[in-house]
C-alpha cells in the first residue's frame, strides 16, 4: 500500500526542485492529493503539468493508486 511520503519522494526525485505535499484523502492508502510546485511547470500548460506528475507513477494510477488529485503551479 503506497504511503504519502513515498509518493512525495518519488515526485521530488522525478521533477527537479519540486516542492511537494501529499495527503492521503481517505486514510485508505489509495486516494491521494498532491500539491506540486516546480520551476519547470512555467513552460507547461496545466494539462501538461498534470501529465508530468501522473507520468511519475505510470500504470500505478488507476491501479494501487486509485486516485491522485493534483494541484500544480510553477511558483
Amino acid at each position: 500500500m503506497p504511503r504519502p511520503e513515498q509518493l512525495k519522494e518519488r515526485i521530488e526525485a522525478a521533477i527537479p526542485d519540486a516542492r511537494v505535499e501529499v495527503t492521503d484523502l481517505t486514510g485508505g492508502g489509495d486516494h491521494f492529493r498532491a500539491k506540486v510546485v516546480a520551476p519547470e511547470f512555467a513552460q507547461l500548460s496545466r494539462i501538461e503539468q498534470h501529465r508530468r506528475v501522473y507520468a511519475v507513477f505510470g500504470a500505478e494510477i488507476g491501479g494501487p493508486i486509485h486516485a491522485l488529485s493534483l494541484e500544480t503551479r510553477a511558483e
Binding site: 498534470h50 488507476g62 494541484e71
Partner: protein, 135 residues
C-alpha cells in the same frame, strides 16, 4: 495512433469526441455518478447549464483503456470541449471557479451558479443521490 489496426472501440470514442461539442467520460451517469470525482465534474457542468454528452466508462473496461490511449490521460473523469481534452476533476473544478470553464464552453454562467464548484460525494462514497438526501 495506428489507423491500420481495427479498433472499433477506439474509433467509436474518437468519433464521439469529434461529434459532441462538450462530452464527459465518467464513472456512472450524471444522475447516478459512481465516483466522487465524476460526480463533482458533472456537477460543475450542470451548474453552467449547457447541455453535454456523458459516457459511462464502467460497463466495459476497454472504454477506459482506449480513452486513455487517445487522450494520454490516465484517470476518469475526462472532459472534452471542441474535440480537445480540457482535463479531469481538478482542472475542471479550478476552471469552474476561475470562470475559464464557462469561457471555453462559450456560455455565460447562470446568475444563480455557485462561485465555488458544487461539492459532490467524497471519493469512494456512495452515489450522489445518497448525498442529496442528507441535504
Amino acid at each position: 495512433m495506428n489507423d491500420t489496426t481495427e479498433n472499433p472501440i477506439r474509433d467509436a470514442i474518437s468519433q464521439a469526441i469529434g461529434e459532441h461539442e462538450v462530452i464527459l467520460f465518467m464513472k456512472g451517469t450524471p444522475e447516478q455518478p459512481m465516483c466522487g470525482f465524476s460526480a463533482r465534474t458533472a456537477a460543475a457542468l450542470e451548474a453552467l447549464g449547457k447541455p453535454y454528452a456523458a459516457v459511462d466508462v464502467l460497463p466495459d473496461p476497454r472504454i477506459r483503456q482506449e480513452l486513455s490511449a487517445i487522450s494520454d490521460w490516465p484517470t476518469i473523469p475526462q472532459l472534452f470541449v471542441g474535440g480537445e481534452l480540457v482535463g479531469g476533476c481538478d482542472i475542471v473544478t479550478e476552471m469552474y471557479e476561475s470562470g475559464e470553464l464557462a469561457q471555453v464552453m462559450g456560455v455565460e454562467p447562470p446568475k444563480d451558479a455557485p462561485a465555488e464548484a458544487p461539492e459532490a460525494a467524497e471519493p469512494g462514497a456512495p452515489p450522489l443521490q445518497i448525498d442529496n438526501k442528507l441535504a
